[in-house]
């Protein structure tokens, strides 16, 4: 993580238990052990009451563990007074909790002020943070929280948590209270932000889709216990038990596809021909194995390699040119950064069994077949035992 403005902290939970009521049969969090590497987004996910929020709040000691140890960068969280510890940890909650009597700028300045920063450094930092979340200080700094929309308030919540440049951020369902469109935008902006700030983030959600989207690692919890701790791809490919499989959903194959991009897929070489090609030449190339049709189709491109359409080999007029035959539209056209899930969806939508992939210049780079996507959606070859 060298070259970044601040180091991110690794976080370790060892055998952490929280029992709210000595008499209750099971603890809220039960012997939780979790290692979160520096700079990673760790999402705690599970049904309500699984202990994920309790686990999160024990890290900044809003809840004190009954037993066990929590370390941040190898240091016991109990080494500092709770208030001192919390000033070093960003905290974002679902209802945001902006201080309604302070302006946006004053809200963002809260932790730097507590840390005793100089006035000039604070105002420069506030402006920087507000720019970062897309609500420039000139326009928004002097407003009060009630003058902002829910999505804007959560952006300010994020700016406020980042203001003192903490190496660790705790986020408790931060995007759950906004509408789906705003949520999607906040998630994308947050991921973009995380690529530049590279904090260690512990993120709580009950939404598995959000977990898959945001996480480097997902910790699935149930009844206070850690059930599985894995990367999203691992979790979707190999859920450890029926509970996890059920929780990640019946569409986990599709979720896996949303983690992959067209550039990750094995492309089939495009069987490219141009309108001016003589049909005889095409046939001889087909015979020589130089041209391999896909499902009996060839990809018609212009001279520069931009896809124009698909032509059927059997319909080519002997003696003429390829351009004499009507072509099917070259739909859909895929980009390398398109997710495999979107690629599949577009192909199903167009009723196509294959689709051309084009590079940034629109030049064909290869072809994706539905069968290829189907293969990667299921990571292990299905073995059917006979006899």
């Amino acid at each position: 993580m060298s070259g970044l403005p601040t180091a991110a902290a690794d976080v370790g939970l060892r055998d952490v238990t929280k029992r709210y009521d000595a008499g209750s049969p099971r603890p809220a969090v039960d012997a939780l052990t979790l290692e979160i590497p520096a700079g990673e987004v760790c999402v705690l996910v599970g049904p309500s009451g699984c202990g994920k929020t309790t686990a999160l709040k024990m890290i900044n000691r809003l809840i004190e563990p009954t037993s066990g140890t929590i370390t941040i960068d190898g240091r016991d969280a109990r080494a500092l007074a709770p208030a001192q510890l919390r000033r070093r940890i960003g905290y974002v909650i679902q209802q945001v909790g902006l201080l309604p009597h302070l302006t946006i700028a004053a809200n963002v300045a809260t932790v730097p002020k507590l840390l005793g920063w100089e006035r000039q450094r604070i105002s420069a930092r506030v402006a920087e943070m507000l720019d970062l979340v897309g609500l420039p200080a000139d326009e928004y700094g002097g407003r009060y929280p009630s003058e902002l929309s829910g999505g804007q308030q959560q952006r300010i919540g994020l700016a406020r948590a980042l203001a003192a440049d903490p190496p660790l951020m705790l986020m408790d369902e931060p995007f759950s209270a906004v509408d789906p469109i705003t949520r999607d935008r906040l998630q994308n902006d947050f991921l973009k932000l995380q690529r530049t700030v590279a904090k260690t983030i512990v993120f709580v959600t009950h939404d598995i889709d959000e977990a898959v989207k945001m996480a480097d690692r997902i910790a699935v919890m149930r009844d206070g216990r850690l059930v599985q701790y894995a990367t999203p791809a691992e979790l979707l490919a190999n859920p450890v038990d029926a509970f996890v499989a059920d929780f990640v959903g019946a569409d986990r194959a599709l979720k896996r596809l949303s983690l992959m991009h067209v550039s990750d897929l094995a492309l089939t070489p495009a069987p490219s021909v141009t309108a001016s090609d003589h049909v005889e030449v095409v046939h001889s190339r087909l015979g020589g194995g130089d041209l391999e049709p896909i499902d009996g189709y060839l990809l018609l491109t212009d001279a520069e390699g931009h896809p124009q359409g698909w032509v059927t080999v059997s319909r080519l007029n002997a003696g003429g040119r390829v351009g004499d035959t009507a072509a099917l539209a070259a739909q859909p056209l895929l980009q390398p950064q398109t997710t495999a899930r979107d690629a599949l969806s577009q192909m199903l939508d167009a009723g196509a069994r294959c689709a051309a992939v084009v590079d940034v210049n629109g030049v064909v780079a290869g072809v994706v077949e539905i069968a290829t996507i189907a293969r990667v959606a299921h990571p292990e070859p299905m073995e059917v035992s006979v006899g």
Partner: protein, 225 residues
């Protein structure tokens, strides 16, 4: 009525009227001030204790129901007569509404705001002074407004413990002089004007010290979030 007013008397007693008005203001200011000084700490102590809050506001309500003349009478054996028992009596009356409003204001601080404040590393004391009290200010000021209006009226009774104020005009110069109407009307009109003026002033104070609640939320479209 206008013919019944002896304008000449008013002209001759301008200084007395002014003195009574000032004395009245002093009683109101000291009584409400003392009540605030007691009510805010009590409210802070009981804000998170439902039983304590019930006991405190219950006691204040019982005190409020004691007939005012009797209350002033009870204070005489301990504090004698004069301004001291008058101010104490007025403070007792103002206590109830102030405790209730302050507790309501403190409890009205949204839980997420408190959680975020603690989560950012404000100490308990900082949470109290920087978050809870400022956010309770509108409710506390509303309590002060109600207490002030009420105290302006009740303070006329302070004359029975020789506390001075507009009661002197009404009782000593009016009722006891064969119902001489002029000072009674003068005292009443001044008291009403004083109550209205103080209320307006406090509304102004409220607007100045709580700029965040003045701006009506003009929420931009959610899609811009």
């Amino acid at each position: 009525m206008a013919e019944a007013i002896d304008w000449d008397w008013i002209g001759r007693h301008g200084d007395d009227i002014a003195a009574a008005t000032l004395a009245h203001l002093e009683l109101v200011g000291a009584g409400v001030g003392l009540a605030v000084a007691v009510a805010v700490p009590v409210a802070l102590a009981v804000r998170n204790r439902p039983i304590g809050a019930t006991v405190a506001s219950g006691t204040a309500t019982v005190l409020y129901t004691i007939p005012s003349l009797a209350l002033f009478a009870f204070l005489i054996p301990v504090f004698g007569i004069g301004k001291t028992p008058a101010i104490l009596g007025l403070a007792v009356y103002a206590l109830g509404v102030l405790i209730r409003n302050t507790v309501t204001g403190l409890r009205g601080v949204p839980a997420p705001v408190l959680e975020a404040a603690r989560g950012m590393g404000l100490s308990r004391r900082q949470v109290l002074y920087r978050v809870e009290l400022p956010l309770a200010v509108p409710a506390i000021l509303t309590g002060i407004r109600l207490a002030t209006i009420e105290t302006v009226a009740i303070a006329t009774i302070a004359v029975f413990v020789a506390g001075g104020g507009l009661g002197e005009l009404i009782l000593t110069n009016g009722i006891e002089r064969n119902l001489f109407v002029t000072p009674i009307v003068a005292g009443t009109v001044i008291a009403v004007c004083m109550a209205l003026t103080l209320d307006l002033l406090l509304v102004g104070v409220q607007r100045i010290v709580t700029p965040w609640s003045r701006r009506i939320a003009t929420r931009p479209d959610e899609a811009h979030g």
